[in-house]
Amino acid sequence: MTPFTYCRAADAAEAIRLGAQAQAKYLGGGTNLVDLLRETLEQPAALVDITGLSSAIEERPDGGLLIGAAAKNTAVAEHRAVRTRYPVLSRAIVAGASAQIRNMATVGGNILQRTRCTYFYDNEGSRCNKRAPGQGCDAIDGFNRNHAILGTSPACIATHPSDMCVALAALGAVVHLRSTCGERMLPLTDLHRLPESHPEIETMLDPGELITAVELPALPFAARSTYRKVRDRASYAFALVSVAAALELQGDTVKDVRLALGGIAPKPWRAWKAEAALKGRPAIAESFRVAAELELAGAKPLRDNGFKVELAVRTIAAVLDELTGERA
């Protein structure tokens, strides 16, 4: 690790003041950042510890929930209201990492974690446009079985590794931000950027801008929601494909649906096209498959990850089928 100063912020106001220093970086649970520091992939001059900021999970007047950005992943997954009203979020969190890591990791840090692309991590041996802009990408012609098939660019094919964010994308979560310029809110689906020609710029956050909370809007039909993760081993592995879904039926028809994908794109991927194709359609396997294929129509598979296209289609269809079967 390169040397840095460390200080602990007492509140959000102090955090953004300290975070405005040159080359400052916010530190949550450290489960990704400490690793990146050790690999010298991050070399901040100052770390601002924000684990003392709000970790409260509060009811909103409109029936939603407000989750403080310093809330631990475990605390969110075990929260009664999350488990009963947003089960997809509990399911997604417990599908990720290990219990030890979930106990340490914060909600804000989970959102801002960086890709686990092995070429990004291979500091000395590989070219990476995210690590060294303009250098080239060795993943594109390399071992890319784990890489993205949607939203990629000729500069980068890395995936966003979060499970939690896939559920947040499906739920229409809104991220609360604060900086020395004031406060603003951004839908989670607009927070991460696609790589295009600048994969080193991963979010819409301004320098020094702080995630203070994540808001889950009221979504009564999310009580019927779930998360399915397909991976190479049964536990403690990143997703090859994952699906977060919530389904509202009216008789045998899809009244409303939320669908997001993980493991296949550089950002948590809200499946807007599939959602639009499903609304008003009969809740049967054929509709599910047609909608899933429509979402994946733009996939750009590479040498090793072509299997993800059919895997994603089938996983979407299977999850929707499971939720349809849950009708009371």
């Binding site: 690790m1 040397p3 840095f4 100063t5 460390y6 602990r8 530190l27 649970g29 450290g30 489960t31 400490v34 690793d35 520091l37 050790r38 770390l47 510890d49 684990t51 475990t74 997954a77 075990e78 488990r83 009963t84 089960p87 509990s90 399911r91 417990v94 599908a95 990492a97 290990s98 219990a99 030890q100 890591i101 106990n103 340490m104 049964a234 536990s235 403690y236």
Partner: protein
């Protein structure tokens, strides 16, 4: 700037880059917690924060735990008497080389606390359940963050199962 390690208050290092694991092993000469991967992939460095919360000491900067209490495997013995879970690991051959064992034991103690609170896992079918039984599937899923490359998993599962069945009596 202090931290409590196994009940003893100690100074934190001046350099904020020192991980909690290096503080234990290199500064305090407590070699129980192991540096397996040093990147949060193996669980060999698992310790307990504030009595029962299992964390990875390799991904924790020591300075972040200022004012808090950390228990490593060395802190589990009572006047030289092994912790019941340590005895169960010996009885059930829950180890071969022993490198992962301190992490496995601390992790299992943290797991028990999570179960007591009713924290769900990836294999919990009913998310609304208030109490969750420690089935073999639950135990294996909840312990998946601790790798054993000797493959002593059957013994590990037997030791943990027996220990918590005894404790529940």
């Amino acid at each position: 700037m202090s931290i409590t390690i196994n009940g003893l208050k100690t100074h934190l290092p001046d350099d904020p880059r020192v991980s909690l694991l290096d503080l234990l092993r290199e500064h305090l000469h407590l070699p129980g917690a192991k540096k397996g991967c040093d990147q949060g992939a193996c669980g060999a460095c698992t310790v307990l924060a504030d009595g029962g919360e299992r964390i990875l000491a390799c991904l924790a900067l020591a300075v972040q735990y200022e004012g808090r209490s950390i228990t490593s495997i060395e802190g589990l013995t009572d006047n030289g008497e092994l912790h019941p879970l340590q005895r169960a690991f010996i009885e059930h051959d829950g180890l071969q080389c022993g490198y992962c064992t301190p992490g496995q034991i601390c992790s299992a103690i943290g797991m028990a606390e999570e179960l007591r609170r009713g924290v769900p896992s990836h294999v919990t079918e009913d998310l609304s359940a208030v109490s969750i039984a420690l089935t073999s599937d639950e135990l294996r899923e909840r312990m998946s963050g601790n790798l054993c490359r000797c493959g002593a998993y059957n013994g590990i599962v037997a030791a943990i199962t027996e220990n918590f069945a005894e404790a529940a009596k």
